[in-house]
Every structure is written in C-alpha cells, then in structure tokens.
C-alpha cells in the first residue's frame, strides 16, 4: 500500500478549514498534533454510552468505563513493546511523567555526592524537574554536549557516566529533529551502573518504539503529540524499578489501606495514579494508537524521511544562504523537525508573515533554552512535519519564507 496523504487528510476535520480562503499548512505538530475524527468519535462514544468513574464502581456503566480504560493501558503497552501492561502509568503528560521519576525514584536515590547526566538537547521538561530536585538534594548534574551538526557528542560519554546514577536523554530533539542512539546510550549507562530515562515525546509519534529493544529503564511521552487528546501522558518503567519506588502523588486510587496512622500504597500502576485519571483521554489515546497502527509506524517514518528530504532540498534551493537550517543536514539521523533561521529576520517576525500566508509554524526557544544558548541563537522558527503533511505544505512554507525575506529586505 502506498502512503496516501490525501486520504489521511480527510480524517482530520481541522485541516479542512481554510484560512483567508487558503489551505492551511499546519507545520506545528512537534508542539501538538491534530487529531483524526476517529479519536474524537471514540471519546464521544465513551461519554455518550459508557462513562463513569473507573475502578471501585459495581454498576455496569462503571465496569464498561473501567474496561475501556484498562484496554487503553494494554493498547499502549503493546504499542511500545512493554512486557507488561502494569508497567504503563498514565500521567497528565510527559512533563508529569518525568516529574514522577524525579520526585519518586530521584528523591529516593539521589543525594550529595551523586550525579546524573542530561544532554544539551533536552526539553525543559527533562531539565527543570532535576534542577529542582538537585537544589533540594545537592547532587550534581553533568551535561552531555553536541557535535557541530547537532548530534550528541559521545566522546566524553564514559567519563560523564562515571559514578552517575541516571542518564536522562531525549530520543528525538524537539528543536533540531536529531535522533539519538538510544541503544548505545542505554548500554553505556548500564555498563556504568546508571539507569536511562528516555524522553520519547517526539519519537513515539513518528517511528516504531520498542522499549525493550531501546534498553530503556524509563520512557516518557505525551498523547497530544501522537494524534491523541491533551491531558494524558505515559510513563513506562521496568516493573522492578516501579515496584521499588515510593508513590509520587498521594490521594484516592493509589492506596491499599489508609488509617489515622498512615497508608499502604497499592501496587503499580495504581500506586502512581492518584485521583481520578484521564479516562476519556486514555480511550482517545488508544484510538489514536489504533489509527497510527492502521497506517503503520514504519510507513509514517518513511513518509517523514521523504518529506524531510524534500523540505531540506526545496528550502535550500529556494532560499540558499539566506536560510540556516539547524541540526543534522542529512534526513537519516533526524526526524521531521526543521529549526529555521532566516537571516536578519527574527523568528517571531518570520512566523507573523507566515501566518499571513496560512503557514503555521512556531517561533521561539521551544522550551530548550540551554540548547538555544549552545546554538547561539535566541529563537528559531520551527516547522515540523507529520503524517498529514505533504509537499504542498513544504512548498507553501518555502513561498512564505521567500515572501518574509522580501518583506523585511532593507
């Protein structure tokens, strides 16, 4: 089956809306994707036929809701190759998933004299929770640097990992699109006795994921970047690690027993799911995964490699030296994220002109200020591609960038 972008686009109602009479080139999926009608309908169906709070209820509606919620957990587990569905913890988003690891595993295991390693590619979501904890616990944060074309510089890896307890690293940069060699990093970390936490927020939506093959200990991602709803994220962790970790948030749903003297936490994953969970969101996420599986993650990755190559070529041809594209220059080691810098025009102004041309991209630091500082740029204009983008979107981007260059030409 050939990859039929036009058929896919039909499933996304929002992409049919015109902006000033023009087709919208939506190139901001790295921030949040759009969702197909199948996801919206799955959530509607739950709300209209099978909604009640999960667990605890004995009536049939509650049972149906609980089944749908737990089926979603199994769907996620199978999608990422998790050995057990109990290893899948639903969170609010990837940010909360990482905070869970820091607040639970980190708080129990890190103290003065300890160290963790983070890469310069990290999103603030995989930096700030560790800085907050380090301020409290007094451990060291070491930084894994980058090569000139935005890939991880592994020369110092062994030295950095020496004595470290955790390596926190993104599987795909949300700024440069860089794909990182997770298996190599995991093996290096394990050789030194460290764990590896993978921020897979940008990789899970765009390529096949197998947490066991990755060699990961923890993997975090968000539903809203993979055609699912907002308000749901996933933390996957190896069962023995999750079992040994103390609870993160306290409340209903996470206990076996509570007395005036104290509480006994429930087993995983309930231990980490205090309060009413995102029920409809879990069902929506399962529908999103079903949609992605129907098309095939391999096919999606191939489509994005092709489209990224087309974009790199087209932008270079149309804009030449007036446009800098940060990150790896070959499409193979990168995902479909293009951080653009139009010479002498600030990213904010670029985006404003692009909006006028019905091209939606994102200006700014993309929540990765240490990386931006390393690149020496205050802001970039980021265009990101997904399964519903086609060469027309890329052409619209190129046209609009040429217009922006002309508009701001002295």
């Amino acid at each position: 089956m050939t990859f039929d972008v036009q058929a896919i686009r039909k499933d996304f109602p929002i992409l049919h809306h015109l902006q000033d009479g023009r087709r919208l080139a939506f190139l901001d999926s790295a921030a949040s994707s759009q969702r197909p009608i199948q996801v919206i309908e799955a959530m509607d169906l739950l709300y209209t036929t099978s909604y009640a709070n999960v667990h605890r209820g004995v009536y049939r509606l509650a049972e149906r809701a609980t089944n749908a919620f737990e089926a979603a957990r199994s769907k996620v587990a199978a999608f990422i190759g998790a050995p057990s569905h109990d290893e899948v913890v639903f969170t609010k988003n990837a940010t909360e998933a990482i905070n869970l690891v820091a607040g639970s595993w980190g708080r129990a295991n890190l103290g003065p004299g300890d160290a963790i390693v983070l890469s310069l590619l990290e999103h603030h979501a995989n930096i700030v929770p560790w800085q907050m904890l380090a301020a409290e616990k007094g451990f060291e944060i070491r930084w894994l640097g980058l090569t000139a074309d935005g890939q991880l510089d592994l020369t110092d890896l062994d030295r950095l990992l020496d004595g470290a307890k955790l390596l926190g690293v993104t599987a795909m940069s949300n700024v440069l699109g860089t794909l990182t060699p997770i298996r190599v990093l995991a093996d290096a970390a394990h050789d030194r006795g460290a764990l590896i936490l993978v921020d897979a927020c940008q990789s899970v939506p765009h390529q096949p994921t197998d947490v066991v093959e990755m060699g990961a200990d923890f993997v975090a991602f968000s539903g809203h970047k993979m055609l699912g709803p907002t308000g749901i994220g996933v933390l996957w962790g190896r069962a023995e690690l999750l079992d040994a970790m103390p609870p993160f948030l306290g409340g209903g749903g996470m206990i076996l027993n509570v007395t005036t003297e104290g509480f006994i936490p429930d087993a995983v994953p309930a231990k980490f799911e205090a309060g009413t969970p995102p029920i409809a969101e879990a069902v929506g996420l399962a529908a999103a995964i079903g949609y992605l599986e129907n098309i095939g993650m391999d096919a999606i990755r191939r489509h994005e490699i092709e489209l990224t190559s087309y974009a790199l070529r087209t932008l270079h041809e149309r804009l030449g030296d007036s446009l800098v594209i940060h990150g790896p220059c070959e499409p193979a080691p990168r995902g479909g994220v293009l951080s653009l810098e139009l010479l002498d025009v600030h990213a904010h102004d670029v985006s404003q002109v692009l909006d006028e041309h019905a091209v939606a991209i994102r200006p700014g630091h993309h929540c990765a200020k240490p990386l931006m500082r390393h690149l020496g740029v205050p802001a970039t204009a980021r265009a990101s591609l997904y399964l519903y983008n086609d060469t027309d979107d890329v052409d619209a981007l190129a046209d609009a960038l040429v217009a922006a260059r002309e508009f701001f030409a002295p």
Binding site: H348, Q352, H365, P378
Partner: protein, 166 residues
Amino acid sequence: MAGLEDLYREIILDHYRSPRNKGSLETPPAHKTEGFNPLCGDEIVVYLVLDDNDTIVDIKIGGQGCSISQSSASMMSAAVKGKSVAEARKMMASFKAMMSIHESDIGGDGSEAEIGIGGIDASDPAELKLGDLEALRGVVKFPVRIKCATLSWNTLNQAFEELSAG
C-alpha cells in the same frame, strides 16, 4: 482583517534596523534591569541613569528580540530620555492604554497599580503625545504581539520600582 502593513510600519522597521540608544552603561552609576518574555525568549536590558531630580539623564538598551520588541524599546528610549520619572510613567500608562491594557484590567497586581496614572485619561491616547510610538498602534490587532511591544516598558517600570525601593 489586519494586514502586515498595519503591524510593520516603516518607522518601526527603521527603529529595528537602526535602534536608538543601543548598548550598555557602566553599573554603577547606571542601574541595570533585565526583562524577559518567557514565551518567545525575547530579552530587554535597560540601563538607566537618574539625576537627583529623578530625571532620566541617560538610558541604553541591550538584549535581543523581534522587530516589535526591539523597535518599541528603541522608541521608548528616545521618548523618555531627558524626561522625569513621573513623565515617563505617564507615557507608560498612555502607551499601555494604546495597547488596550488599562491598569484596572490588570487587576490585583500591586506592582501595576502602583504605576499611578492619576489625573490622566489614559483611555484617550489621542490626548497624549507618544510621537513615534504611535506607530505601534497597529500591534493591538495582533494580540500575541502586544507582549513584544510592552516588554521594554514593563522592564522600565521594574527599573523604576527597584530604584524607588532603593
């Protein structure tokens, strides 16, 4: 539908390309205040020298950002240089009014309330002489850019607060 020309007036682009009072001043005697727009990473540094009568005898602007934040900072520096702090505060109130930010709208934020626009009908900016700054009027039609236009003023306000707090 507001067009790009409403936003990017020629005079704005002129201030962007040739910013006035760009640079830094030695601290002390100058007072330095940094302002950030956490959304886009724009940064404004205001270096300020007041004399004993609270007159702004010198001002320089550092930092980086988009054409709107940079031109607004440049225009602001030209507008307030040589003026008293009180006069600068009045301009600040009228500029914010032009940006559709009325101090009463901000609500509950003590620091904003202290700006003290008493006696000025800031809702009628036509009464006030903002000079080049008037060119930024079109920004109102692009709500996400209002923060770019007000960043330098908020930073100046913060500088005033810091100075008056000693």
